[in-house]
């Protein structure tokens, strides 16, 4: 176990060293990359709760990522044009305040996860994978064909939303904000994993019949995990939209679902620090290989194939050994 802690500390130190270096060397682009990695890690922390603890292979998490993004886009675009979102039955105004946007993003993506989860969890195994993928695609096409918020072209937000007491336009401050959110989500994931709920959820993944035999319904556990997972990924979507100041249907695309899943797997399924390690690796690869070749995804594919076929615990699993999986 101590080896696992050492590796987690190393991952954390590495991920903190980059932004500190970027700040003092005056390289804001590196800081933007680090922020991107942190936000993708947050989305992956969300997926890891469903995938790692619940064993729910969702290939449709871009749905929640996109809903979070559009929650930000819709609220902020109404605020920047000073038009209310709805004036009947009650007046709803847009907002540029991050806490409000986060709350809306989490509630809407949580509700979507409740509906998608309740339908998808009627099935299991390979059906579940295909159905979550299909629901993600449904929202993708909806976002493309719904003209009110930019349709296929997406929505631009001119000024990054504000957070009380911070200037979010300063890259370091926005990075620190996202890193704090990620730390909070990881702490939540850790507490959740150790709680009675987390233990029951893990048990439902390993031996559903036994869980049922002691009087707990696996369906409820899984649905709860799926909703929490969707809410965290939705929050990541809102932050991602704020990072780019742009929302478009590609946030709903199935490639993004695949990317979030790749992050979880590269890092190590069910590992607390797996999403962070995976996201840092993916963003680094994207940046480094992208500079080497326009066709860098070929190398990413080959690497991924290698990890799946030969290094099954991901980075942290391979380094720490298999004994502490799902820690």
């Amino acid at each position: 176990m101590s080896r696992g802690i050492a590796i987690n500390t190393a991952v954390l130190a590495l991920c903190l060293a980059v932004p500190v270096y970027a700040h003092f060397a005056g390289e804001p682009f590196l800081l933007t990359l680090a922020t991107r990695a942190v936000i993708l890690a947050l989305a992956a922390v969300g997926l890891n709760i469903a995938l790692g603890h619940g064993g729910l292979i969702s290939l449709g998490h871009a749905a929640f990522f996109g809903i979070g993004g559009y929650a930000m886009g819709i609220l902020a675009s109404h605020a920047q044009t000073f038009t209310p979102i709805a004036d009947w039955p009650l007046l709803i105004e847009g907002t540029k305040s991050m806490p409000v946007i986060w709350l809306v993003a989490m509630v809407t993506s949580g509700l979507a996860a409740l509906v998608i989860g309740a339908l998808s969890l009627r099935t299991s195994g390979v059906y579940f994978i295909m159905i979550t993928l299909a629901f993600g695609q449904m929202l993708y096409y909806f976002a493309i064909s719904w003209p009110a918020y930019g349709g296929e072209d997406g929505l631009s937000i001119y000024v990054r939303n504000g957070f009380p007491g911070l200037n979010t336009l300063v890259p370091m401050q926005f990075f620190a904000l996202t890193a704090t959110v990620l730390a909070a989500a990881m702490a939540l994931a850790h507490v959740l994993g150790r709680s009675a709920f987390g233990l029951a959820l893990n048990a439902a993944r390993q031996a559903p019949a036994r869980v049922e035999a002691v009087g707990v319904r696996p369906f409820r556990l899984r649905l709860t995990a799926f909703v929490i997972s969707g809410m965290i990924t939705g929050l990541a979507g809102a932050l991602f939209a704020d990072l780019n100041r742009f929302v478009s249907p590609t946030m709903f695309s199935w490639q993004l679902s695949g990317e979030i899943m790749v992050i979880v797997i590269l890092g190590g399924v069910g590992r607390l620090f797996g999403p962070l390690a995976g996201a840092a690796l993916l963003v680094t690869l994207e940046h480094v290989l992208g500079g080497v070749s326009d066709y860098w995804q070929v190398y990413l594919g080959a690497l991924l194939l290698g990890v799946v076929l030969f290094a099954r615990g991901g980075i942290i699993g391979t380094l720490a050994g298999r004994d502490v999986a799902h820690g």
Binding site: V126, I129, M130, A134, M138, S145, L305, V308
Partner: protein
């Protein structure tokens, strides 16, 4: 009314094309228990092979043959090199490995053919309209696709129910250890089934490539629709794939045509088109959700 019949035929054409994709997926899942995301890449490979051969020789039939051969060869290659190692892994590993294959195939194709779409022309002997009874004019090429699709469905039915290979495929679905014990080379059977599914996907890609453009990433939207089809039809059932594919094809095409008209009765034209087409794009997923609520294992699915 004529327009409606034309839309029904378009829906049928879309349906049989989805069937060619879904048949391979469902066979591979039924026999090997494998979920293959890279099936869309095989569709793309078929289309690119057809476009390349048609460009070089000018013959559409040679192009179709090339699409079958290229997709089957690519299928057999990835089965032997990668897929074979995934049969006894869990679905998560299968999803990731085949996702990795998509990245490799897509970027590899982009490297070989460039980012610009290729075009595959409909041959002269299949272009133009054909007159159907009742005074309907319909595209000869689309009608040919329907014919080919139905012929493949019949061929698959005969293959599975009447031939020795079909008996082995069905036996492989029921009990893979047992047929291995009976002295049948199971790994050769698996390669064969995978290559067969790949060839059907490649054929679909080539035929659709002549209607739409041939480009990188063309396979994935179709792959996801094929997933919807086999979820509706029931995984592992070829009959389910056919029924599901026709159902999805008709729902999608008729929904896109009828919903804006229906909304136009109650509201002004521009918002009716917007709402109607937005809702129409979600219709097949709503169909899938309804089927799942009524029958969680699909219309013809047996296994949970």
């Amino acid at each position: 009314m004529l327009l409606l019949i034309e839309q029904v035929l378009n829906g049928l054409q879309f349906g049989v094309m989805l069937f060619l994709m879904a048949a391979g997926l469902t066979l591979v899942f039924g026999v090997m228990g494998l979920i293959n995301l890279a099936h869309g890449s095989l569709y793309m490979i078929g289309a690119f092979a057809a476009a390349a051969v048609a460009g070089a020789t000018g013959s559409f039939l040679l192009a179709l043959a090339a699409s079958l051969a290229a997709a089957a060869a690519a299928g057999a290659l990835i089965e032997v090199a990668v897929i074979r190692r995934l049969y006894d892994r869990d679905h998560l590993d299968q999803v990731l490995a085949t996702f990795a294959l998509i990245l490799i195939f897509s970027e590899g194709t982009r490297w070989a053919f460039g980012s610009f779409p290729l075009y595959l022309d409909i041959p002269a002997w299949l272009s133009g309209p054909v007159s159907l009874p009742g005074g309907i004019e319909y595209s000869r090429y689309r009608l040919a696709i329907i014919g080919v699709g139905l012929a493949v469905a019949l061929g698959l039915y005969l293959l599975i129910t009447r031939t020795r290979l079909g008996i082995r495929i069905r036996a492989g679905e029921a009990d893979r250890e047992m047929i291995a014990a009976l002295g049948i080379d199971i790994s050769r059977l698996y390669t064969l089934v995978f290559a067969l599914g790949a060839a059907l996907a490649g054929l679909a890609g080539a035929m659709v490539g002549a209607i739409q453009s041939v480009q990188v990433g063309m396979g994935e939207p179709v792959l996801i629709l094929a997933f919807v089809v086999i979820v509706i039809g029931g995984i592992g059932s070829v009959k389910g794939a056919l029924v599901g594919a026709i159902l999805v094809g008709l729902t999608d095409t008729l929904g896109g045509y009828l919903l804006p008209i229906a909304f136009g009765q109650v509201m002004e034209a521009s918002s009716a088109t917007a709402i109607g087409s937005a809702l129409a794009s979600m219709l097949i997923y709503i169909l899938m959700a309804v089927v799942l609520i009524l029958r969680p294992t699909g219309l013809y699915g047996a296994r949970a």
